[in-house]
């Protein structure tokens, strides 16, 4: 499996679906017979994982939108967790 780097282009994993749920007032990740309710930071990262943007793009976009610098390590840590859980994958 490709290892995570700033040049990777993660996408929502096969079998998972990311969507806004107004009843939950949150983004959720759906998978067979289950649902994860995402906090706003997790949602901000995952909604940018479209398989086209690189990790570097995602980090700089988040830093720009939220006017915070030095988000890189936090974003990478979350992406590693999300990959491990199958929420994200790398598309060829």
């Amino acid at each position: 499996m490709e290892s995570l780097s700033e040049a990777s282009c993660p996408a929502v994993g096969r079998g998972f679906r990311l969507q806004w749920e107004s009843a939950q007032d949150a983004h959720v990740l759906l998978y067979p017979e289950g649902m994860v309710k995402l906090n706003p930071s997790a949602a901000a990262i995952l909604t940018r994982c479209d398989g086209a943007r690189t990790v570097a793009d995602i980090i700089s976009d988040l830093e720009r939108v939220y006017s915070i610098e030095g988000l890189g390590e936090d974003v990478l840590a979350f992406l590693r967790l999300a990959l491990q859980r199958g929420w994200l994958e790398f598309r060829q």
Partner: protein, 377 residues
């Protein structure tokens, strides 16, 4: 504590996150362990396409998000693709539970296009002879072909095998079959004793020795394959000393709609006496979920009797399964007798002992739908 204060915690429940549509009770298989009612309603009473689509829209508007499509065999409905398409458009995550009978390549392609997210395929055992005996059909080869199609259409392959005395000794062979087919997940679900399975309980309950051997085989296999093949083992609750948190509490997250439109807080709940379950033909999903007496009856803890009422574990297991309490003790408000704090626990241990003693003989297996039993159920 005043009555008002007692009622304060039972605020408006959350939405029915998990909607199960039992589209039909019709099924080409005749499985001996089926949980469907033994006196199932006639085909003529099934909801039509428009009615199912209305159920989907109303439940989704309340916040339902996971959709199960099951039965019976949902593929016998020729509007299944239309139902999946609308569910997908509405934002449901769609799960199909099927025997595979009727799942041609053409049909699967259409379902994939319609947005079907997930398929769970049932097998009855690891060999054509046992699979076909237990379902009283010749379906093993067909199921194997369907398994290949599921892979071809890039679905994760999820196999479900219901375990009982007649196949539990084949756990190793069943897992080997799953591996050969390239399955990603296998659910080994021990039989739950409702419906046809309840009638066949004396023939289906495994012995404790069988169960231990099966768990050992499963662990050996799990160590061998690692994360390549995930194995879920659903333990048979008759061998436990604490009950399952059935449905995570009735009326909390789960809403089932039976083929004839009857709304149920659990797919087996139809048997519970004294409750008049509302029908989607006569009431909206919103009024059924929030306002109907049947859905409010087992919410909260007011209905509980001792030992549940004062038990520190009541908020974790909700007293277990109401249907099991009713079937075994005659009162649905009793503690699930699986719990060893229940004064009726001996009914469960005795059933296990009797099953072990009478491992052969007794009444013959009753194959679902192949023998009409008046008043059974």
């Amino acid at each position: 504590m005043t009555a008002e204060a007692r009622q304060a915690p039972s605020r408006r429940p959350g939405p029915p996150l998990w909607l199960l549509l039992e589209l039909t009770y019709r099924c080409p298989l005749h499985c001996v362990f089926c949980y469907n009612p033994t006196d199932f309603p006639h085909v003529a009473t099934e909801l039509d396409t428009g009615e199912w689509l209305r159920v989907l829209r109303e439940a989704r508007a309340l916040g339902a998000v996971q959709l199960g499509l099951s039965g019976g065999e949902p593929l016998v409905r020729n509007d299944l693709t239309a139902i999946v398409a609308e569910a997908h458009r509405l934002g449901f995550y769609t799960n199909l539970t099927t025997s595979g009978v009727g799942l041609t390549e053409e049909r699967l392609a259409a379902l994939k296009d319609a947005g079907l997210d997930h398929i769970q395929l049932s097998f009855q055992d690891s060999t054509p002879a046992m699979n076909d005996f237990l379902s009283s059909t010749h379906t093993f080869e067909l199921k194997s072909k369907v398994a290949a199609l599921i892979k071809k259409y890039r679905y994760p392959m999820v196999l479900n095998v219901v375990l009982h005395r007649l196949n539990i000794d084949h756990v190793e062979e069943i897992l080997a079959m799953a591996e050969r087919m390239g399955a990603e997940y296998v659910e080994l679900a021990n039989t739950q004793y409702y419906g046809w399975a309840w009638l066949n309980r004396a023939q289906l309950l495994p012995s404790r020795a069988q169960l231990l051997r099966a768990e050992q085989s499963m662990r050996r296999f799990r160590a061998l394959v690692g994360s390549r093949l995930r194995i879920f083992f659903v333990v048979p609750d008759y061998f436990e000393t604490r009950p399952k948190p059935c449905m995570n509490g009735l009326g909390r997250v789960f809403l089932a709609i039976a083929p004839d439109g009857v709304a149920l807080p659990c797919h087996a709940a139809r048997m519970l006496p004294g409750l008049s379950f509302p029908n989607v033909r006569e009431a909206s999903i919103e009024s059924i979920w929030y306002d109907s007496a049947a859905f409010n009856h087992y919410r909260g803890e007011e209905w509980m009797k001792e030992p549940c009422r004062s038990c520190p574990e009541r908020s974790r297991d909700f007293g277990g399964c109401r249907c099991q309490a009713y079937l075994l003790t005659g009162d649905a408000a009793n503690a699930d007798p699986v719990c060893d704090r229940s004064p009726h626990h001996h009914l469960v241990t005795r059933a296990v002992e009797q099953a072990a003693a009478a491992a052969t003989g007794g009444q013959p297996l009753l194959f679902r739908g192949l023998r009409v039993r008046k008043g059974a159920g």
